[in-house]
């Protein structure tokens, strides 16, 4: 009996080792594309040209990054997008709270009808062109607000927030009312302080959506000065040449330089996401769980 248990444990151990190794390989495959781009961004043109760069930079240099930082369009678009994302997240969060809180209250008459009115928009969409025409008619084309207002409320996030608000005990709200709090006061003094984790999660969702979003920018923004970073990045990726002055360096080398500049731009655009990633890790599983709570 003891003998058998030992054998099973040994086989279990072996299995765990094999499984762990497979996951190491899988994780490696998962970040491999990223490592490669990272390496290209720090490598010399000659190394890229001769195909030496796979996992680690060859011929370390920062030239590509100097070009990226030296590109005023890119830098300006970077800070513009940081600003855009901050404004968008704040507005989206405020309006989500405005919608979710009343809809979380049983006392609100007609709340089921309003919820149906909102949920229907998740299943039927006017489509790209009618959306474009509305944005145009409202006069938002080519403005920063075209990337904020038409997407400032997500029905999905609203439902998550609403179910979180619903989970807060009604007796606390009633007690606050008896103490002379208005509904607004209950929201600001009782409900919001209790909802910090949910608000943090949703803010991250909104911020990431805006930082990564590019479809609406393609539809609504045609002025290159107002391109968000992702669109700027796409412009750089699609660009065949860096600039006219480099024509003297010879076509092939110039092309390789373009490769490392593209790589460096990709890395620079990804860094902010990686910076907030630990926070995402902390909150988003929690947020997803919130979503599964039916309110």
């Amino acid at each position: 009996m003891v003998e058998e248990k030992k054998r099973i444990n040994a086989s279990e151990k072996l299995f765990q080792v094999v499984l762990t190794m497979s996951f190491i390989v899988l994780s490696f495959i998962c970040i491999f594309p990223f490592l490669n781009v990272f390496s290209i961004s720090f490598s010399s043109s000659t190394a890229i040209l001769s195909g030496d760069v796979t996992l680690w930079p060859v011929g370390w240099n920062f030239e590509a990054y100097e070009r990226v930082i030296g590109n005023p369009g890119f830098v300006r678009s970077f800070f513009y997008t940081v600003f855009l994302t901050a404004v968008y997240t704040a507005i989206a969060m405020i309006i989500s709270i405005c919608a979710a809180y009343p809809l979380s209250r049983k006392e609100l008459k007609g709340r089921n009808i309003i919820m149906m009115f909102i949920i229907f928009t998740m299943y039927f969409d006017g489509g790209i062109i009618p959306n474009y025409l509305i944005v145009r008619d409202v006069g938002l084309l080519d403005s920063m607000w075209a990337l904020i207002i038409p997407c400032m409320l997500s029905a999905y996030n609203l439902i998550i927030l609403r179910s979180f608000f619903s989970s807060i005990d009604d007796s606390i709200k009633e007690a606050a009312y008896l103490d002379g709090c208005s509904e607004m006061g209950i929201l600001l003094k009782i409900v919001l302080p209790l909802s910090v984790p949910a608000i943090a999660t949703l803010s991250l969702f909104y911020a990431i959506t805006r930082w990564n979003g590019v479809g609406d920018a393609i539809f609504y923004i045609s002025d290159p000065d107002k391109f968000p970073l992702q669109l700027k990045l796409r412009e750089i990726i699609m660009m065949e040449q860096i600039s006219q002055q480099e024509a003297s360096q010879g076509v092939e080398q110039q092309k390789t330089m373009a490769e490392s500049v593209k790589a460096a731009s990709i890395i620079a655009t990804t860094v902010p996401i990686l910076l907030v990633y630990p926070f995402i890790q902390k909150y988003f599983t929690q947020g997803l769980m919130l979503g599964s709570v039916k309110g």
Binding site: I95, P102, E107, G127, P130, L158
Partner: protein, 313 residues
Amino acid sequence: MEDEKTMKKSEQKRNNIKNYIKRYWQLYALLICPILYFVIFKYGPMYGVIIAFKDFNIFAGIHDSPWIGMEIFKEVFASSEFYRALRNTFLLNLGDLVFSFPAPIILAILLNELISVKVRRITQTILYIPHFLSWVIIAGIMYQIFASKGVINLIINAFGGQSINFLGNNVNWVIVYLLTGIWQSAGYGTIIYLAALTGVNPALYDAAYVDGANRFQRIWHVTLPSIANTITILLVLQLGKIINISFERPYMLGNALVSEVAKVISTYVYQVGLEAGRFSFATAVGLFQSIVGLVMLITVNRIVKKMGQEGVM
């Protein structure tokens, strides 16, 4: 006497309403902005779809353009490009269903077998990352590694193989498209299955173990049944969305050389509508997609409910 009673009653009612409004008016005030938002930016475009039945003139606007009935739909259904976009949408979504859909299930089952919490957490942290990257970044990365002199071809060459034209060949491009989808979503997709698995009673595994079930039997008889419901719902939902395709992924990954397989409904609507300015035509294509999508989702939701699940609507 009677009159007095009714009067008192109605007065009480009026007072109740007054009190209700006095206490709760702020809730309604908060809702004004969100409702305006939905009316203008969600229901406004739904009204705007009427230009699919109009000869849209950009100066006359949505309301004042003349009606022309089903003319534009006739044009759409006679267009071979439309059928190509429809076919590509189905094919790429079907590919995702066959290859991308099972990936997180397998991953979640394997992660569930891991004993070490640490290894599990590190693996999850890494596998989730691609989900948080934009399609511009993902396409940029894929175009670098799958380029003719990219690292994948370098590896193929190192093993003595010929370079493969990944991005300019129709079949290869579809493979890259599907692989990218797996890479982007497989890790994150495990969350929902892992959540279902945390609810499994560990006693079930112990019982299976005592009964002499081997690892495969334990997975088959304990793990899989506990996520079967989740799998069914997600599968049916994805089937319901088979005509819907995002704009960003095919647009960013696509290129002119592979437009034969890469042009899908969303990118076709963009190209015909916003690039070529045929607003009515593009709206009709989009409307066709929205309606078929809605009908499919309702049907699928009925099926889910018949299976005794909660459904989504």
